[in-house]
């Protein structure tokens, strides 16, 4: 395996751990054990693989961007997670966790969501498996992602606004954790990124390694057995990025995470502890968590998954920042040159490639296109007029 398992206390180097209320410790231990067993069980793997193929539509294709490449002088390959059922990579993790929850005898899923993609995926899996589903979403995000709110409700989920703090993803995580503290006996917390307490960062990564392993083989076909020079994706919590990095961590490919300038935990944070994990965190001089500010609801998060903090600390991956304006340009650039409307989240990775095209000239860059942009069209209509 390209990325190693965390230490017994759930650490990647100095990051990670299990900083949760005592009430949740037994549930985290139980989840770790259940995941370890399931992941080693061929029957579980086969059931998940079947769902990924027949329900989610995997494998997702690799698309070479000829017109974009001509325009910017960088050879760009896209891993098309936007073509999965529900429109993003989130379905990989959610199908895994929902099957695991059912195996553990849980009948209810709770989830947090930012842009709504993870919430939609969780509501979808709950509908598929006949489970109850409750999704917490920041009040601000509910307004800017109204389409996804409607979609979740259509799928039978209850969507509850998080009205405290910044009323975005951070606060939705708080509310989901509070729900789980109260309902832990029958409920599984279906966390949507490689964050939170151990075993989530590891487990969610494992459910997304399918992105990297498919992409590795697809790149080998396209590149005569070679690997791209650079593998990149946006990083909020960082599940999509870890998924694609996992396929290339043992290669010469440069790994680049792209953070929104207004929510750059690695770029602007210092180590801290929130939401069950030790990781880079944007905080004030006293350790109060700062509110992120990004055009993308899915990246509007002041923390980052602990494995990204570790990859940054050991220098295996580096983390760039892009501005909202650069993202808006990239959103239009891909639409115009390739006929693919990206979600605002992966548009961050494209924005970095486009901005740094001179440094990347002539190189081959694999971008994990983690979601499609339909959900963002209304917001972009307002911005672009």
């Amino acid at each position: 395996m390209a990325l190693p398992e965390p230490s017994p206390s759930g650490r990647f180097g100095e990051f990670g751990g299990r900083y949760v209320p005592e009430t949740l410790v037994p549930a985290c231990l139980e989840l770790e054990e259940a995941f370890r067993e399931a992941w080693a069980d061929p029957a579980f793997r086969a059931e998940l693989d079947d769902l990924l193929r027949d329900y989610a539509g995997r494998p997702s294709p690799l698309t070479e961007c000829h017109r974009l490449s001509d325009e910017i002088g960088v050879r760009v390959l896209l891993k098309r997670e936007d073509l999965n059922h529900t429109g993003s990579h989130k379905i990989n993790n959610v199908l895994g966790q929902a099957l695991l929850a059912r195996r553990m005898g849980k009948t209810r899923l709770v989830a947090e969501t930012g842009a709504g993609q993870h919430g939609v995926a969780t509501a979808t899996a709950a509908a598929l498996l006949g489970m109850e589903c409750m999704v917490y979403m920041g009040e601000v995000d509910m307004a800017r992602q109204a389409l996804n709110v409607f979609r979740m409700r259509l799928l039978g989920a209850e969507v509850v606004p998080a009205v405290s703090g910044s009323r975005t993803l951070k606060d939705a995580v708080n509310e989901a954790m509070r729900d789980w503290v109260a309902t832990v006996e029958g409920t599984h917390y279906c966390l949507g990124s490689v964050m939170g307490p151990h075993p989530y960062p590891w487990m969610v990564r494992e459910f997304h390694t399918v992105i990297g392993s498919e992409a590795r083989a697809q790149c080998a076909d396209l590149l005569d057995g070679g690997v791209p020079d650079v593998v990149t994706e946006c990083v909020g919590g960082g599940s999509n990025a870890i998924g694609i990095f996992s396929g290339f961590a043992d290669t010469t490919a440069e790994l680049v995470g792209v953070e929104p300038a207004g929510g750059a935990a690695v770029g602007r944070g210092v180590p801290g502890v929130v939401h069950g994990m030790k990781s880079y965190l944007m905080q004030d001089e006293f350790g109060q968590v700062q509110e992120a500010e990004s055009i993308s609801a899915g990246l509007d998060y002041p923390g980052v998954g602990p494995e990204h903090s570790h990859l940054a600390a050991i220098g295996r991956a580096r983390y760039e920042q892009v501005t909202d304006a650069e993202v808006i340009d990239a959103f239009q650039l891909l639409s115009r040159t390739e006929g693919i409307i990206p979600a605002l989240e992966p548009a961050h990775a494209l924005a970095w490639v486009s901005r740094d095209r001179a440094a990347l000239a002539g190189r081959t860059v694999l971008v994990n296109l983690s979601g499609r942009g339909d959900k963002d069209v209304a917001q972009m209509m307002e911005i672009l007029g």
Partner: protein, 277 residues
């Protein structure tokens, strides 16, 4: 299995200090005198009169007082303490400002700080522990720092003479409780129900169960908190437990403008009910 690394320091938890500190001595003495113990919670930095509230509820019969240092993301707290924390933060409360004001309070009963781990981690364990000690705070309660992760903090707190109160929850299997109580000093904070802090109409049956399970494995004082909302509920759970922590029921009154006199009246009412039982 990946080998243990230096980063796994959290797995090794130093043994608790053999002798009780100021908070635990005081609570043990109260218990030996036949009292049921009452520990109200007040959010530090909320309003201009929070320090007066601390003094007033000490006079009204609190055996010790928990002072919250507000944190931006209080995941163990329900709406009342969330609002109190948000208001205090908006008014500019910081760890230093709360501790500075506490230094001058002279409540006459031991004080414990309740906050979230990041504030201690960010300041540095040694510095946070010594700043508590310098402010006259006897103990710390960090509800997002469970047994497995408490080691680095506990080492610094022990060295500074600050007691670390651990929480014990209804979800803990039987073999976990003895390990928690062995590391907890000051008291053992028994989480009365599955859920976050906040008032409930009736006492959860789980409150009595967790108190009974803890009393069977420790002689450190066992106080039940989370969901203890009234004098009646305090009396009911104290039939098994050594006493109670009351937070949201008091802070709701404070948020509604009860002031020092109103807060003292409520604490006095609970005190009287406990003494009469």
């Amino acid at each position: 299995m990946t080998p243990l690394t230096a980063a796994d320091e959290g797995l090794t938890v130093p043994a608790a200090p053999p002798e009780p500190g100021a908070l635990e001595q005081s609570l043990r003495a109260g218990r030996e005198a036949g009292r049921k113990l009452l520990v109200p919670y007040v959010t530090g930095g909320l309003g201009d009169d929070w320090a007066e509230i601390v003094r007033a509820i000490a006079d009204a019969g609190a055996d010790a007082i928990e002072v919250g240092i507000p944190f931006s993301d209080p995941v163990m707290d329900g709406p009342v303490i969330q609002e109190a924390s948000e208001r205090a933060l908006a008014a500019g409360a910081t760890p230093a400002s709360v501790l500075d004001e506490l230094r001058g309070v002279d409540a006459g009963v031991p004080l414990a700080v309740m906050t979230y781990y990041n504030l201690a981690f960010h300041m540095g364990h040694e510095r946070f522990a010594s700043s508590l000690a310098e402010a006259g705070v006897a103990a710390a309660i960090l509800p997002d720092l469970p047994l497995e992760e408490v080691g680095p903090w506990a080492g610094a707190a022990d060295a500074a003479g600050v007691e670390t109160v651990l929480l014990a929850a209804p979800t803990a299997p039987d073999d976990r409780l003895p390990r928690i109580v062995a590391r907890s000093r000051g008291f053992v904070y028994a989480v009365g129900l599955l859920g976050v802090t906040g008032e409930r109409d009736a006492l959860a049956a789980s409150s009595l169960v967790i108190a009974r399970r803890l009393k069977a494995v420790t002689d450190v004082p066992v106080l039940v908190g989370v969901g203890v909302s009234s004098a009646e509920q305090a009396v009911e759970v104290s039939q098994v437990a050594d006493g109670v922590v009351i937070g949201s029921a008091l802070m709701r009154r404070v948020l509604e403008g009860a002031g020092p006199a109103g807060a003292a009246a409520f604490v006095g009412e609970v005190r009287a009910a406990l003494d009469a039982a």
